[in-house]
């Protein structure tokens, strides 16, 4: 829209016509206080805090509902306005208890801040406050009714925002209260957005309440370890006896690709990190069959010696390596390098959740065809094939809903079940579970591919009229189906694609060559020329065994050792434990999983919140992971791989190209919480420098990745500032895939089981239980 020029507090401002005055002012650095207003949610004009004086208008106007117009003259801070705001605060405090000292929001409460700024020193109200006991609406949502100032933010974010409509307003006038849909409990997605948006402490979080204060925590924005969307989550951490404990997850600072959105997993399901049954000491199986806690030296020596012996006696082919979906790119990369150069085998694989190889092959050489998660918020038209984003990709679902609501995007959904997003869809097509490939054929023009009717014809016609389309598809598409889908998409004028996989870093694991037939960047193992140059060693040229073949080989007695990192294939693939009885098993993980229980050596590993590096979400957005939490006794997978390699006789300098000439300790070894290291990191980043002095510095490996994998050649500076960088998928030099097994096993996560760690989150379990065993209904209102 055309720009208009107007004056605020004597400053000339320009904004597109139709912009709300409050937004225009905030963009220009003029803060107008408001409780009920929240950007991109519907207007309420309920709280009257944002009143401003607009020339030629008889009364004070609410800035949150007034669009800017040409020549408008506005004053935002006059004595009159201060007096109005003071009166508003006095009204809001009419029933508000003065329990700031115990309220969770104390220290970050908008009402508290506004009272300091505008509040009256005394209240004219002498009536007794209307007290009500606090209510627990769900395991994670508590409601303290007297604190509520009825701004309706929670109601609007739950309704139009989440499309859940779990909150409403009951009674009229002074008796009005926010009420949950289940009478006294919430029946919702437990996203916690209502808690985050609440400007006071009326809605509080079950994980965080009464634990700490905002100023007692450090706040670190890192990437959520659960689904494949790769949301930023800002973790509040504080020091405890055995490290740094995570106390809160939210994204109020709106950092990253998800803005302020976060689902229940990012917000509550970090508690696996604080569990007491985490492994913190290396375990080695004794002759009597039991595990014994041993020193790191002993465990590493034992594992390395065994691997070395097997490698020398039977060759690398007798050893298998299984990677993880939740380790960083650097760790995945290092693991494949370890397997290929030190073990000398291509027997490396991971639990695949989407066929990224075929996707890369289908899009080979096509620039600008992959979509970032951000694109799903702005694309004018989206075709969603398969998957259920509400459950498996909550950030994508949020973006699609918001896109429809804010930009009137047209969403076309085809699925074999009635997924919730059909409510936002312009057209919804229910197809048979095995009908995805035929549907694509039909869309591409083959009328006989499906039993077409008017609905399908209208669906196809509408799609073909779109000038630009974003095709988002789930793991229902693999191999040739992806090829066919991409071919169809490319026949349309302007199409982008997004392949949906599960888990935090499945895409990264595939990109980093944790595959038996592909090196990092999807380079076939038979064509390893520039890898050989960089590694200074020949690589095995024939494809190795994939995950299933490895277990078959173990059963035949052909696999003498297995090294499993952050993965639980025994449970996921239903492997019979007897299969592994003659295989020397090294497992590094956080918990004693079904796989770890069979191990000979277990290394306690750190999780994604306890390490640094990069991860790639399922859309190909590369993001920086920062170390937030810490736990005594555990080590990062990166360090463990390097240490194991070192003890197997490899040169760590070849494995991790670190320390080129500088030997000073710049503070990194003291950990990121020491303060000094933080300042160094800031200084180094500001000067575009990075000093890699340690074999455990993942950024030395990121350098190598960027040298070898062209699609990861993204701006390091942008990464360091916390901005996601889209992977350059067009630079993937993949050859057309022959007949290879895709071996994709989707996780089929529901909303509350998340990633590979959801089962270790007690909070998620409590939420699931509260949904399956509802409370007897009582009336919430009183």
């Amino acid at each position: 829209m055309a720009d208009v020029t107007f004056t605020v507090d004597g400053k000339k401002l320009t904004a597109p016509a139709g912009t709300l005055l409050i937004d225009a002012c905030r963009t220009s650095g003029i803060e107008i206080p408001a409780f009920c207003y929240y950007p991109k949610l519907s207007m309420q004009a309920a709280c009257r805090m944002c009143v401003v004086r607009i020339e030629k208008m008889p009364k004070l106007q609410t800035a949150c509902t007034t669009p800017v117009t040409e020549g408008m003259v506005v004053a935002t801070e006059t004595d009159e306005i201060k007096q109005a705001r003071k009166a508003t605060i006095e009204l809001l405090l009419g029933n508000h208890p003065l329990d700031c000292p115990v309220c969770d929001a104390g220290g970050e409460c908008e009402l508290q801040d506004m009272t300091f700024k505008y509040g009256a020193a005394e209240s004219k109200y002498v009536e007794i406050k209307q007290h009500r006991e606090e209510q627990q609406w769900s395991p994670v949502v508590y409601f303290d009714r007297p604190r509520c100032i009825l701004c309706y933010r929670c109601v609007t974010v739950c309704g139009p925002g989440m499309d859940v409509w779990a909150l409403g307003i009951q009674n009229r006038g002074v008796g009005a209260v926010i009420a949950p849909n289940g009478q006294d409990h919430l029946n919702c997605e437990e996203c916690g957005m209502c808690i985050d948006l609440c400007p006071v402490g009326a809605l509080t979080s079950g994980t965080y309440r009464y634990k700490t204060r905002p100023w007692e925590m450090n706040h670190i924005a890192t990437i959520c370890t659960h689904c494949g969307d790769g949301c930023k989550t800002t973790l509040g951490v504080r020091r405890v006896n055995d490290g740094m404990e995570i106390v809160r997850g939210d994204n109020r600072d709106k950092s990253g690709i998800n803005g302020d959105f976060l689902c229940n997993k990012g917000r509550y399901a970090f508690d696996f990190a604080n569990r007491t049954d985490r492994l913190t000491k290396p375990l080695v199986r004794q002759p009597d069959g039991n595990f014994a806690e041993v020193s790191w030296d002993h465990a590493l020596d034992f594992a390395a010696k065994k691997l070395r012996e097997i490698r020398e006696a039977k060759g690398g082919q007798a050893i298998g390596v299984i990677g993880s979906n939740r380790t960083t790119n650097e760790e995945s990369y290092l693991l494949q390098k370890f397997a290929r150069t030190i073990v000398g085998t291509n027997n490396i694989d991971h639990h695949r959740t989407a066929d990224y190889v075929s996707f890369a092959a289908a899009l080979a050489g096509k620039a600008g065809r992959t979509a970032s998660l951000r694109d799903t918020l702005t694309a004018p038209a989206i075709l969603l094939l398969g998957n259920d984003p509400t459950n498996q990709h909550p950030a994508l679902a949020w973006n699609l809903r918001s896109n429809v609501r804010l930009h009137r995007a047209r969403v076309y959904v085809a699925n074999h079940v009635e997924i919730k997003l059909r409510r936002q869809a312009k057209a919804f097509l229910q197809i048979p579970q095995d009908g995805y490939a035929s549907l694509v054929q039909y869309l591409a023009g083959n009328d006989s591919a499906i039993a077409a009717n008017d609905t399908t014809a209208a669906f196809r016609d509408a799609l073909r009229k779109e000038e630009s389309l974003l095709i988002v598809f789930g793991s229902e598409f693999r191999g040739r189906d992806i090829q066919a889908l991409v071919d169809f998409g490319l026949s349309l004028p302007n199409t982008k694609f997004a392949a949906l996989g599960d888990y935090a870093n499945s895409r990264g694991a595939a990109d980093m060559g944790v595959l038996p037939d592909m090196l990092p960047g999807y380079v076939p193992v038979s064509d390893a020329a520039h890898f050989t140059d960089e590694y200074g060693a020949p690589l095995p040229k024939t494809p190795g065994m994939d995950l299933l073949q490895m277990f078959d080989a173990a059963q035949r007695g052909d696999l003498a050792a297995m090294y499993i990192v952050g993965s639980n294939p025994v449970s996921r693939f239903g492997v019979d434990p007897a299969v592994l009885k003659n295989t020397f098993l090294i497992v590094q993980d956080m918990f004693l999983t079904e796989t770890a229980q069979l191990a000979d050596v277990i290394f306690p590993a750190a999780n994604l919140y306890e390490k640094a590096g990069t991860v790639t979400n399922t859309y190909g957005d590369i993001q920086l992971v920062k170390k937030a939490a810490d736990k005594a006794g555990v080590r990062t997978d990166f360090e463990l791989i390097v240490r194991l390699a070192d003890r197997m006789g490899a040169d760590p300098k070849k494995l991790v190209p670190f320390g080129r000439g500088v030997t000073a300790d710049m503070g990194q070894s003291r950990g990121p919480e020491s303060g000094e290291a933080d300042r160094h990191a800031v200084w180094l980043a500001a000067n575009r420098l990075e000093l890699k002095l340690s074999p455990f510095d993942p950024f030395a490996t990121l350098d190598e990745i960027q040298r070898l994998v062209p699609s990861y050649h993204v701006s390091r500076l942008e990464l360091l500032t916390g901005t996601e960088q889209p992977e350059k998928f067009d630079l993937v030099q993949i050859q057309p895939a022959g007949s290879r097994r895709d071996l994709v096993l989707p996780a089929e996560d529901t909303l509350f089981t998340s990633g590979t760690l959801g089962r270790f989150s007690d909070m998620m379990k409590a939420v699931v239980e509260s949904h399956t065993t509802p409370n007897p209904a009582q009336t919430a209102a009183d």
Partner: protein, 169 residues
Amino acid sequence: MSTPQTTIFSPATAARFDRLVALYPVKRSALVPMLLYAQDEVGYISDAVVAEVAQRVGITELDVRNVLTYYSMLRTKPIGKYNVQVCTNISCMLRDGYGILEHCKKRLGIEHKGTTSDGLFSLEEVECIGACCWAPAIQINYDFYDELTPDKMDQILEDYKAGRGKETV
């Protein structure tokens, strides 16, 4: 037409509801009239009414309660057979509406929003009922009585007690 398999309403009301939801561009517009008709039939808006209305309109029960609790003329608790609504707004007040209210309280032995023990009468102080010309006025269910005096009031209550009142419910 989403007629529920079993309905708690009479066939006539159920049919009326079926017609109502088809009358508006958006189904939920039928909510308030539906609640009013339901209240006339059932006497108050019970949980069962909320559940069925929500289903008929295609919204959540919470949505129904959001609206229901906003309107003071919609009731969630049973009341007496005859709801005596005494106006005390300006015109009535000037012509001793409060006197009538107090008289009713004494006579029926109940307070504002109370119901007699035999379940016959409920008493309610209400805002303007639109009978200012003939103040003071009351409304019993859907019937008006105006230019009241305490004596006249006694007579009306007697009539209802004896089953001689105008009866629309």
